[in-house]
Amino acid sequence: MRTGTVFGRPVLRREDSRFLKGKGVYVPDVRLPDTAEAVVKRSPHAHALIGHIDISEAATAPGVVAVITADDLTDTGVYRPYHKSPPAFANLLQPLEKGHDVPLLASGRVRRVGEPIALVVAEDRYLAEDAARLIRVDYEPLEPVLDPEAGLRPEAPVIHDELGDNVQSRVGVVVGDPEGAMAAADHTARFRFTIRRQIGSPLGPRAVLARFDPVEGLTVWSATQMQHLARKVIGGILGLAEDRIRVICPDMGGSFGGGVYYEDILIPYLARRVGRPVRWVEDRTENLVNARHARDQIHDVEVGFDSRGRLLALRDRILVDMGIANFYGLVVPYNTISHLKSQYRIDNYEAAATCVITNKTPNAPARGAGRVTAAFVIERVLERVARRLDLDPADVRRINLIPADAMPFDTGVPYRDGKPSVYDSGDFPAQLEMALEAIGYQEFRARQTRLRAEGRHVGIGIAAHMEGTGFGPPESAIVRVDGSGAVTILSGSNNHGQSHETTLAQVCADALGVDIETISLQDGDTALIRQGGGTFASRTAVTGSMAVAGAARKLRKKAIEMAAHLHGVEVDGLTVIGGVIRDGAGAWITTLAELARTTGDGERTGGRAGLEAMGSFASPTVTWASGTHVVTLEVDRDTGQVELERYVIAHDAGNIINPAVVEGQIVGGVVHGIGNALSEEAVYDEAGNLLTGSFVDYRLPRAIDVPPIEVHHQEFPSGLNDLGIKGCGEGGTVGAPAAIANAVEDALLPLDLRITEMPMQPEKLLRYIHQAEAAARQVQEA
């Protein structure tokens, strides 16, 4: 473990006192005088032509300030989702990427349930809700496309005329000679895996508050992960220069994915139009219907393997149910493709993904974007190979894992930035053994045999994950010291639960040479700093930390030079510890606080004004975190219910800034994965209505559904940043559904159950059990 004064130590979360006492300030807590409230009128149809929209009754209802529809949006630009991969990637893989406009308010046609049609602004929320119900819309229902395979058929209705058909994008990769290797393999098998639609559900739904002042410009408070991106998008569509817009992202009740939504643009638009601050607070049903839908992939897989279980070739044809728009280009489909080979050596590999437009909510990255499905597929394949050959699933993994001496390992699959995917460091076989030993694999097998004799169904499941972390635009930070010695970090990233107020302060404390107690963090505000990437893709520990370290190191150098100049000593040998500058002999020279007080005096400091410095960092490419999950559980064969017993994860996040925070991130991730595995499913009916519009039916895991989770750390530093950090925000989620599916199958042996779908709710599992029992009876009768 790399340790400095505080780097590497389990420092208590500095944001806890605020959050645990309910003192956080969220968007709905921000109060501005004269604020009006907005409600969105949404489509009840999955696909319909819109005739007349009658707003007359709503517009004159009590307390109504304004009602707007698409007809009013004559003074806004076009919202055209990002759909072009970076040139380095596009030149290499030649993906098909088609773009189309997304109307901010539906015009002429609605394409999904929940699509915004009109906005009502009123004196309060109740009046706005009352008035929204008075808007009359004439619909002429059209046939909806709710299944990507149906959407590809020639007779399917085309959802966006501009696209010509329902294919929005297509991307594929070939490594080695999959066709030849498949033909030559001793064994082959084919599978179809279906990963259902799931929703990244934060505790706090979204909210936007906007104020427009002709002099000050536009200020937007939004629960977004990327304030600088939001500013850019809002400015582009509303025709405002970026410097006339300030986006503030205060405390957030989690996020789990998602960037800039319609409301982030429409609410500022309304504030400018009505000349009053306007606020919109999403409710839970709106959140479930409209935000952060994810997963929803179908995989047709073919695998070739030898008699020892070594994978010789893997082919996967992937369909992604994209919903009505793809706001994130190839992020999700290509994450799946680039993570499918996981920790295993698969020399011959081919994968292609097609993103199909359907009449559903847009499919977007949510925690573990594209990777949860990749891990599910590859780990299910390995498990089936083990069953087919009657081998121990642990042994099949041992024989396929990339050995430690092959590191760094180039998978042969380019990453999304067009650079090679090179696993920078790690020891996967040791990680597997670490996890197996922690759970007591052999002891479990003995207990399993005993319990099986008693008619009980306990099982154990293994799954590995890989996680390319630290992706995306550069991150920047400013560090400054004031005359009291207080240190402030201004970060372009933002914190929606990842403990940045603690971890970035730890990095800063060591790099600058001050006590952590003197440091505070400000982030999530475009006024703080010119450029910021934001928090997503498990990136801030890598990019945010490096930006802070860069700024703090620069500031330390500046302070030392200033001290040397002021006190007539040599720079060499000067140290900064606890904010005190000493010479090589340990003699007290000055303090950062004192220097800060002097900086106004340009003559004395030799022109070095301001105890402040800026740093920025762009990762050369992703750094690869990894993990191995092992879970034990028991299945109730009569009802299909699953009870998790124990969960162990061995994990490599490189050098760890704060082991308690990393553990929290991983445990939180695993809990998310448990929900994905067993209970969370966004269910649509045949008409395209989302049936799971509340937490009674969209079943997130609760404390009582979660077993004890043990985290064991490996620390193989990354070579891509000098702090040696890898990200860790999503890996817990990535491997969990795969491990749980494998354990369920294992529990129900000797029934030859084949889990090909996630999530595995009790009802679905009982259907699998009955099918397997019926098949077993047939075999017996034959």
């Binding site: 109740y126 809700e129 009352d130 409710d283 209970s679 609760r702 009802e763 009982l766 009955h770």
Partner: protein, 290 residues
Amino acid sequence: MKPPPFSYAAPATVREATELLDRAGGRARVLAGGQSLIPMLRHRLLAPEALIDLRRIEGLRDICIDDARRLRLGAMVTHHALERWASDHGQDLLVDAAAHIGHRSVRTLGTVIGSLTHADPAAEWAAVALVLDGACQVAGPDGEREVGVEELFTGLHSTSLAGSEIITSLTLSLPPSRTGAAFSEVAPRPGDPAVAGAAAAVSLDGPRVESARVALIGLAATPCRAPSVEAALSGSEASVGIEAAAQAVENDIAPIGDIHGSEEYRRRVAPVVVARALRSALARAEGGRP
């Protein structure tokens, strides 16, 4: 919470409450624990003109054993209050059933009688009340009357109560000696709405079942008794008859599939919950515990 507009009253007596209901002519709703009513208002599934809150009326939180040795509980007794009383008095059936109701926070606010009047087909107390020969004391503008729980449920979320009537209390016959009672349920997760649930009370006469009462939830439009199971059990050798009796439940159910469980799944797990409830009830009867 953004309901349509409504007026609110918290009368001090049952009489006042029924008068207010009568005056509203069916456009008012009674508020007790609010665990179903408030979410329905939030989703604007209901738009009552008035809410009549029972919280100020004295005596509605009482739990006692009445002169007829029946358990009597008032309209404002919460799930948690009954759960605690049952736990203190060794009433395992009530303890079993309460554990399946929502979460602790729901149980400390929601009321037993509120749940009965909501007439949800998956409500745990309905099965308990059916097995324990429950009766509701009902107050209305024309005075009081008693409605057996068997006559209470008339359909999905509907009861035989008139719009101006309030159930003021519920009485239950607690199981006598050599009678065991238990509850079993399958739900997507603990605390979720029941896909199938069964309450069973079994009285023994030596090794034989003297009588059995079984009630089901989640398996029809209303909570209901399971006459085929009861008939199959009566007089049978207790230890051998359970599985066969449980299978007979298919004659007693008409499940309706929804997002929590399809019709097929409900059919599959119906015999499982019946058998589990019966086995626990039998063990308790044999152990001399109610």
